[in-house]
């Protein structure tokens, strides 16, 4: 059967929407074998699928487990595209350094945010859990990300977010990086109060906001 680019892209998008990682991998292989570039397949096959997922999640038509399966399918395709993508000079959507703040050990929320960011083309450096203020600062210094992300699970660990932002200011790094915070007890009001650029209540919103923040930063 002859290869039809349009159908391949459409099927790839659908495999992401349905969260079928096997189909996503197979369609990626087929596309590459038929001379489609990694960038083209990403832009017209996988990413449109993830965009639909993001929109449906926002509208309440899709739920977290389905989104996670979609991201898994996206990742299955991305893995196969990686070697070619790294050879080309395609820029990632943005670079994010992220971690759970000092004294806090909860990481599933952060991990889901990372998963979704990577699924939409961000390069993410995960500093892990219980991350000391100094570690955030040196990571920003060293990796110069567009965005610094912090997560917290309890109100008692949230003050560490303020400390990191103050340290960024003291180290003259604040101007060069956008800050986003999130986690169960974190609120928009708190984010504003500590001088964060943004707050996201879930991973879908975090992706939308990070895209906006990275664009602002790139301009």
């Amino acid at each position: 059967m002859s290869f039809d680019k349009k159908i391949n892209f459409e099927l790839a998008s659908n495999s992401v929407i349905r969260g079928n990682d096997e189909d996503a991998a197979q369609l990626t292989q087929e596309a590459l074998a038929n001379g489609i570039t990694a960038k083209e397949f990403l832009d017209f096959g996988l990413i449109p699928g993830m965009d639909v997922v993001g929109a449906r999640f926002r509208d309440g038509d899709m739920f977290l487990p389905e989104v996670l399966l979609a991201a898994r399918a996206m990742k299955a395709g991305m893995e196969l595209l990686k070697p070619e993508l790294s050879k080309s000079d395609i820029k990632p959507a943005g670079k994010v350094v992220i971690g759970t703040v000092a004294g806090d050990l909860h990481d599933i929320g952060k991990n889901i945010v990372i998963y979704m960011l990577e699924g939409t083309g961000f390069t993410v450096l995960d500093l892990g859990i219980n991350v000391a203020t100094e570690t955030f600062i040196s990571a920003v210094q060293q990796h110069q990300p567009h965005i610094l992300g912090m997560s917290a699970f309890l109100t008692t660990t949230m003050p560490a977010m303020r400390q990191v932002i103050e340290s960024l200011q003291k180290s003259n790094l604040r101007e060069g990086v956008k800050v986003i915070v999130g986690g169960a007890p974190v609120t928009e009001h708190f984010a504003h109060e500590i001088g964060s650029d943004a707050y996201a209540e879930d991973a879908g919103t975090a992706v939308t906001i990070c895209k906006r923040l990275a664009r602002l930063d790139n301009s």
Binding site: P65, R72, L105, N111, T156
Partner: protein
């Protein structure tokens, strides 16, 4: 209020905490009875299976007096000015503080799955473990109830309900005093300076045994506004359902007795 000097290990096993797939889906934000794909269904079933292999539940409980609990409750002085619990616990017949954990291995497994790139399964397992931890609290309630019922078989109007620091105006720093009294370290639970328990899938609180009505309140406090769960409403609803059931059972017994 009766108070015996009672501190004991709660006989928690994986059987008691096993979550139902529907509860795991709800924990992941899927509304009750929403249709899910077979892929999602098997993701959740897989997570529950892994949970059964990796969770090692353990719990501890100590019965305390109202006076002792007044000190625990006051904690570090950070509670909201007026809270439901401060009206509830003085009406309790018996009180016990408790803590439980699913152990470290399950958190290691969740982290391992996420680090290896399978956040879908890691996320589902995390949700399953969260439900299991909540089920553990329900088991502790039942365990305390059974202990009381053993000595006082006619306690139909008594129920046991758990309340936790970090909820409903009882500040999360309340865990400090609770830990000093309970010493959950003996089942492997540590509290850090930020009042976060390690292992992460752990719960602490007080078990309040008393008449059902003492637990009814309107969630109109200041701290209710930012609450995302409003789990108090479900808990009160469950109590009301239970009260109705008990009444029907009692009615039936009376009817049966009148027949003869």
């Amino acid at each position: 209020m009766i108070c015996s000097d009672m501190s004991r290990i709660v006989p928690l096993t994986i059987t008691e905490v096993m979550p139902k797939p529907e509860s795991v889906l709800m924990q992941m934000g899927v509304p009750r009875r929403a249709a899910v794909s077979s892929a999602v269904q098997s993701l959740v079933e897989n997570a529950i299976e892994i949970l059964s292999q990796y969770a090692a539940p353990a719990g501890v409980m100590t019965e305390i007096s109202e006076k002792q609990f007044t000190i625990v409750y006051a904690g570090e002085g950070c509670n909201a000015r007026d809270t439901p619990l401060e009206h509830i616990f003085p009406q309790a017949r018996r009180l016990a503080v408790y803590a439980l954990t699913l152990g470290e291995k399950i958190s290691g497994k969740i982290a391992g799955l996420c680090n290896s790139g399978d956040v879908a399964l890691g996320g589902a397992l995390d949700a399953a473990a969260s439900v299991a931890a909540d089920n553990g609290s329900e088991f502790c309630e039942q365990f305390f109830y059974n202990l009381i019922a053993k000595k006082q078989p006619t306690i139909h109007d008594t129920c046991v309900l758990a309340y936790s620091p970090g909820y409903c105006g009882w500040h999360v720093t309340g865990q400090k005093k609770l830990f000093q009294l309970l010493k959950p370290e003996r089942v492997g639970i540590e509290l850090n300076d930020n009042c976060l328990m390690h292992p992460i899938k752990s719960v602490s609180g007080v078990l309040v045994a008393g008449a059902r009505e003492i637990n009814y309140f309107e969630p109109h406090w200041d701290f209710c506004e930012p609450c995302t769960t409003y789990s108090c409403l479900q808990r009160m609803k469950n109590l009301r359902v239970l009260a109705k059931q008990t009444m029907t059972e009692e009615d039936n017994v009376i009817r049966q007795e009148n027949k003869f």
